[in-house]
């Protein structure tokens, strides 16, 4: 079983659009059945990366509306609802049913509708005498946004502020944990797997892991549970591992500048739901879609930006060579004089040329798209010196320090205020001990640039109070020692792996290294103390550590609480591809954040802590 989250969610949505009946062999609905699709804002975000308007037409959907929009009655047409189960949506459905807007209502809730809401729905339809309108009620368990085959987001915002807010109460934290658990449960239900759950001790990761374990256990006890494997014993031995982490596990990744294509497009140009808008060459805004249908994006998204530029040039040259080949074969370049003896051959070439024109046009569109994106990226890189930021931040993370002159020079040089603030925070996190004079110089330089230093002060405070950041830093730095051990070891494979790691010139994230240890099941001083939950195991054996829990896994789901980004996603995909045999890793997070988004949350937390004596004296609730 290969976990392809995007494919599975798309199949579930297609079945839902087909009124939860089995699809035809051709995969299309009956042409005679028309239906109307009604969704809310959240479910619109779920649908837009997966389903296009022409796909809706293929499934028989002729009209689609937001549920909050005023809609006129269209009798004799069934309506498919895809909404979140909340009070306002239920009231809206009852109102639609009472007005007899549609022939029948097929209700699909994005996750399990609670019993009280179902009772409200029943009471509302009973009071308005519209029981016969409601045809079906389904829990779809699709409440997550799948951006790529192995990338999903729960679209909860802003999680990090709520989890680390010093004034947050236990009730709010528990509500947030339940929300995250609900989203993760939907992902597991769509994949139809019961994973082994691993997480570090303490903090939100443990809370989410234990709540999810309990949720799956309760569900396995009930009849008609979603994970019935029908006696398929082979797949039960291939269970994936679900690794749950908190953002504080590796804080720098969310802040530092990265120089790979996919993270750059997300961080600099604001990629959202696989779409982005950039300034076109004529001055107008151009909108592009970057998803699995774009083969260039799939193949080159993980490359460093200079390599992407070289690749665009290569594709352009290949395209021009093909065009020249077409021109040469059709022989239209040299006048009207013509040799009649090659009539048949030239006619055949002409037919081939006509057939190849659509493919060439499509390739030209892809090259145009990435040329424009790369050009806009290049402008931003030059204007803000992003390459310098990325290189210096990487050096700081690896070496653990930076010269004072370099540090202050960058803070007084090019770049936006957010760039300098991010750089200063990376400096603060990567330092082993706090040098007070340097920190004061950094703060003075930030104030000269009119930067709000609340985020900087917040990170300084949690660094003095919390050792988890320090452990993440030391974990990152010990990467070099691991490589050295491999190099000096006697094993040839260790030397090969070490040389490969050094040649790749890529520092491995602590997250990727930890996930690698968890997948392989090797003895590791960091991951041995991790908690393990097996929802299928009996509860009484919670203390026993069977080999089943720690064995090597073929598949993994990595979830980051408090926000993630494409840097971690690219790092995990590289890890999956370099393993022998190849592994399969799905990355998910509460929301996809750019560095600016995350620093804004840090600023908010700093302001909360700085507003008054009570706030400054309390510790962050973790």
């Amino acid at each position: 079983m290969s976990l392809n989250l995007r494919q599975k969610q798309t199949e579930c949505i297609a079945r839902m659009l087909n009124l939860n009946q089995p699809l035809n062999a051709a995969g299309t609905a009956n042409e005679d059945v028309y239906k109307i699709l009604i969704y809310d804002k959240f479910c619109q975000n779920i649908l837009s990366p997966l389903i296009h308007v022409k796909d809706l037409r293929k499934h028989g959907v002729t009209l689609y509306f937001l549920i909050d929009k005023d809609r006129k009655p269209v009798h004799d047409v069934p309506a498919v609802y895809f909404v979140q189960p909340n009070v306002s949506n239920v009231q809206r459905i009852v109102s639609d049913a009472s007005k007899s807007l549609y022939q029948s209502l097929h209700l699909n809730f994005s996750t399990s509708i609670p019993r009280p809401l179902l009772e409200d729905l029943a009471a509302g339809t009973l009071n308005s005498d519209s029981i016969q309108r409601v045809s079906k009620v389904h829990d779809q368990y699709l409440e997550f946004v799948t951006l790529e085959d192995n990338l999903f987001s729960l679209a909860h915002k802003p999680c990090y502020v709520q989890l680390n807010d010093p004034s947050a109460g236990d009730k709010e934290i528990e509500e947030l944990v339940e929300k995250i658990v609900g989203g993760l449960f939907c992902v597991l239900a769509t994949l139809a797997v019961v994973p082994v759950i691993r997480c570090p001790r303490g903090g939100p990761a443990e809370m989410v892991a234990s709540a999810l374990d309990q949720r799956i256990r309760d569900h396995l006890l009930s009849k008609n549970n979603l994970f019935t494997e029908g006696g398929n014993f082979v797949s039960s031995f291939q269970r994936p591992v679900l690794c749950i982490f908190d953002r504080n596990f590796e804080l720098p990744v969310a802040i530092q500048h990265d120089f790979r294509y996919r993270p750059l497009v997300h961080d600099v140009l604001g990629l959202r739901l696989n779409r982005l808008s950039v300034q076109g060459e004529k001055g107008g805004m151009r909108s592009y879609e970057l998803d699995s249908a774009d083969s260039f994006w799939v193949a080159n998204g993980s490359l460093e930006f200079p390599e992407v530029a070289v690749e665009i040039e290569t594709q352009l040259n290949k395209y021009k060579k093909d065009v020249d080949e077409v021109n040469k074969r059709t022989g239209g370049t040299h006048g009207a004089e013509f040799d009649g003896t090659d009539l048949i051959g030239n006619t055949k070439h002409l037919m081939n040329a006509v057939n190849s024109l659509p493919e060439l046009t499509e390739r030209k569109q892809v090259i145009d798209k990435h040329t424009n994106i790369a050009t806009v990226l290049l402008g931003e890189i030059k204007e803000r010196s992003l390459d310098s930021y990325a290189k210096k931040e990487n050096d700081m993370m690896v070496r653990g320090g930076i010269e004072r002159g370099d540090l202050l020079g960058v803070l007084r040089g090019k770049g936006t205020k957010m760039d300098k603030l991010r750089f200063a925070i990376i400096y603060l996190i990567s330092s082993e001990t706090i040098n007070l004079s340097e920190v004061e110089a950094v703060e003075a330089a930030l104030r000269e640039s009119e930067v709000d230093t609340a985020a900087f002060q917040y990170v300084k405070k949690i660094k003095s109070l919390n050792v988890s950041l320090a452990s993440a830093n030391s974990a990152s730095r010990s990467n070099i020692v691991d490589w050295a051990e491999k190099l000096y070891g006697q094993s040839i494979s260790a030397v090969t792996a070490g040389v490969k790691n050094l040649l790749s010139n890529d520092r491995q994230l602590a997250l990727a290294r930890t996930v690698e240890a968890l997948i392989e099941g090797r003895t590791n001083p960091e991951t041995d103390v991790y908690l393990s939950f097996d929802p299928r195991a009996p509860k009484s054996g919670s203390g026993a550590s069977s080999s089943h829990l720690k064995g090597p896994f073929k598949e993994a789901i990595v979830f980051m609480i408090g926000g993630g980004n494409y840097v971690e996603y690219c790092s995990l995909q590289e890890l999956a591809q370099h393993q022998q045999p190849a592994k399969h890793i799905i990355y998910g997070t509460t929301e996809m954040l750019t560095g600016v988004d995350f620093v804004e949350q840090l600023t908010l937390l700093g302001q909360k802590m700085g507003l008054g004596n009570v706030g400054s004296s309390s510790t962050p609730a973790q």
Binding site: Y141, G332, A336, T347, L378, G379
Partner: protein, 242 residues
């Protein structure tokens, strides 16, 4: 395979039954009058709309086949007759679809006279009309292929900013040094010119082929010249050998 959704309809029905029993038994004094006329009119509207949708789908399939036939511009297996027949058939079907749309509008006007005004119905019809217009445009594009336009290839301007680079760091340095205001326009123009030049060349070659064939087949004097040369060769051969 395990289904990843759960049917809560039976639970919903059970809740309805429970609430019915709990609720006070109110006997309906006035039976709700079923709007049979409106229902019949709606059903007729829906049926006609479905037929129009099917017709549009079939016409679009025929247009796709016409596109394929038009692309197969073979010199010796000319499907011109089939193309013309298909064109006439598509024209007739589009006319029929237009009539059906007018009938649908009539049914809708009757509904509005009955007071059943519906804006979404207009949106529904608009969607069908848009699809119809799209099919017309596709047909017009196919018709326009019979008049190829000659494009003069434009000269290309400066190369893209990342050309002439040997390795990553040098490439990066080169990119940072180059001005960025002229690069996208030049690169865009190059690709556009290449595409236009290629289309123009293909169309020019096609025209040249047709012109040459006409010229050869209609040249009577050429035929006579070939015959005379053959006779002369034959006479010389007989004279010298004998």
């Amino acid at each position: 395979m395990a289904s990843s959704y759960r049917d809560r309809t039976s639970e919903f029905r059970l809740l309805l039954e429970t609430l019915k029993k709990i609720g006070s038994p109110v006997q309906p004094e006035n039976a709700p009058s079923t709007s049979h006329g409106e229902s019949y009119s709606r059903s007729e509207f829906n049926r006609k709309a479905s037929r129009i949708g099917l017709g549009i789908h079939e016409t679009s399939q025929k247009i796709a086949r016409l596109t394929q036939l038009a692309r197969k511009s073979s010199m010796f297996n000319d499907p011109a007759v089939e193309i013309q027949e298909l064109t006439v058939l598509i024209k007739n079907e589009i006319t029929a679809l237009n009539s059906a749309l007018f009938d649908l509008q009539t049914v809708q006007n009757t509904d509005m006279a009955d007071g059943g005004y519906s804006q979404d119905t207009i949106v529904h019809s608009t969607a069908n009309i848009k699809a119809h217009e799209n099919r017309k445009q596709i047909f017009s594009k196919n018709a326009s292929r019979e008049n190829p336009l000659q494009h003069q290839p434009k000269p290309t301007t400066e190369p893209p900013p990342w050309s002439n680079s040997s390795n990553a760091s040098e490439s990066l340095h080169q990119e940072l040094a180059l001005p960025s205001n002229g690069a996208p326009v030049g690169n865009q123009l190059r690709i556009d010119d290449n595409m236009d030049e290629s289309s123009a060349n293909v169309e020019g070659a096609h025209s040249s082929l047709l012109r040459h064939l006409n010229r050869i087949s209609s040249n009577r004097w050429l035929l006579i010249k070939i015959f005379v040369i053959l006779i002369l060769f034959l006479m010389i051969f007989i004279f010298f050998v004998a």
